[in-house]
């Protein structure tokens, strides 16, 4: 098992290196976008509270960084996002397993699940803030709710897609339910599940910001509100870029997890 884990990690490395090789076009396009932005702000001569220049945003970024406010707010949002992700995913996987195993249970629950998806998260966020207060709990719940559905769907789809022939194999070996779960269902479902997790990770960031917009005194969403109120548009930009970075690093984290756990199917992604 140990030897093999090493093997899997080794297999994953060249893949990531190959990706890093294609980083230059990305840097180039970021540079070009900054250039276009800078040109626009120079040529149109708009006031900074409408369109700050890249330099002004950079300055504001350094100020927010040095007085510690940016890190403080980012840390709050990060916690909300990750906790929401953990709760949402845990509940989705648990319920997804029950749904996939019992058609009866699925018929019982699925009307509510479908109906719940028809309600936009923005519409129930105020309710959650009223019920659970303006603190972190309401944001974690909003994140969990928004993460829940895609992960649930992918878990059910993944479990349903476990090949019947491999189930037969496990039964012919008289595997227990627990062994079927551990040796067959979890590894077979993992690729589809991780796809759901990838979507969930970015959605969770959206959930946190929505919650913070509705009512909060901390977090990057709150920071955006503050910037808007004070016509400190550069601060809004700083907060938005930080959110993008947060979402991207979560997404990257899941992608990294995939490349390590799913090295056996690397060919699929080429």
């Amino acid at each position: 098992m140990q030897i093999n884990l090493v093997n899997k990690v080794n297999n994953a490395v060249p893949h990531r290196l190959r990706r890093r090789g294609s980083l230059w076009p990305v840097l180039l396009s970021v540079f070009l976008a900054l250039l276009a932005w800078d040109m626009t702000s120079r040529l149109t001569n708009l006031p900074a509270f409408i369109l700050p220049s890249p330099l002004q945003v950079g300055e504001r970024f350094l100020r927010a960084l040095s007085d510690g406010s940016l890190l403080r707010h980012t840390w709050v949002t990060f916690q909300e996002v990750v906790l929401g992700l953990i709760f949402g995913v845990t509940f989705a996987v648990f319920l997804g397993y029950l749904l996939a195993k019992s058609p009866w249970f699925e018929r019982l629950v699925s009307p509510y699940l479908v109906a719940s998806q028809a309600v936009p998260i923005v519409a129930i966020a105020p309710l959650l803030v009223i019920w659970f207060g303006p603190g972190m709990l309401s944001k974690v719940l909003i994140c969990a709710l928004i993460v829940f559905f895609p992960v649930l769907v992918n878990t059910v789809v993944g479990l349903r897609a476990v090949p019947a022939s491999l189930r037969d194999l496990m039964r012919s070996l008289r595997a227990s339910h627990w062994q079927v779960l551990r040796y067959l269902e979890i590894p077979a479902t993992l690729p589809i599940f991780l796809g759901g997790l990838r979507i969930g990770a970015t959605l969770s960031v959206i959930g946190a910001v929505v919650g913070e917009f509705v009512g909060a005194d901390r977090g990057l969403g709150f920071l955006i509100n503050v910037g808007r109120g004070q016509y400190d548009t550069a601060l809004v930009f700083v907060a938005v870029f930080t959110l993008v970075a947060l979402a991207l690093s979560l997404y990257g984290g899941v992608a990294l997890l995939e490349s390590v756990l799913l090295s056996w199917q690397e060919w699929r992604r080429e």
Binding site: M1, S165, R174, L184, P187, A188, L262, Q265, W267
Partner: protein, 274 residues
Amino acid sequence: MTSSLERSPSLISEATIGKQKPHEPILTVRDLSVVFPDGNGGLEALRGVTFSVWPREFVCVLGPSGSGKSTLLRVLAGLLPPTRGEVRFRCADAKGGNGLPRIGFVFQQANLMPWRTVLENITLPLELAGVNNGAARARARKLIDLVGLQGFEENWPRDLSGGMAQRVAIARALIHDPDILLLDEPFGSLDALTRERMGAELLRIWQAHQKTVIMVTHSISEALFLADRVLLLSARPGRIKLDMAVDLPRPRREEMRYTAKFGKLARRLKEAIE
């Protein structure tokens, strides 16, 4: 199986001529019927199937498509409950716990787990049985030698050819030392040449391990080349149409396929099928 080793001449049937066997069958199937529910009365796949298999016997099951061969194997493996009749295993030293036999099943497709390496696929049955990892890997390496896959231990199944994957499946079916080996057209997806080679290899493995084998095949000559006995199923619903002993000497050689005896047995099977 100690007491069953004494032989009773009165029990030697047509099936055991030329070969002395323990007098107690390892498997007894009596009046087995399987009906699949299909809305209007049910689809009868097997009807009144009765036969016995003796320890270390190599039995091939022949029959037209849809005659219930796979269904029969699935019932024997405990994957499908029979509608009527009974399946009894009688092995004094049954290893599967509560009187059940330990089963090695080789499916038509290799049916490997794509997220496990070749070695990990082969050790699966031992892992499920709680054997410690070192012992399991050591045993798997021996089987890898037996099926000729040295050097492929750490490969993923996707790197293997069809024949290699099927050999992994055979090694996996042997590793937990099963009481009985069930093979459902294991070489069905292979080309004719590989198929013959794999057949010869299977014979070698069977001789080395002295297993009881029940194998489904479509090929008359494959059945005659491998088996001690051929069971022929009729078209649906499947019934035993013929239970024929193959009294060709062992070890079997390629040249035997062209002998008069082989031809006679083949003709008898062919006539029964038509």
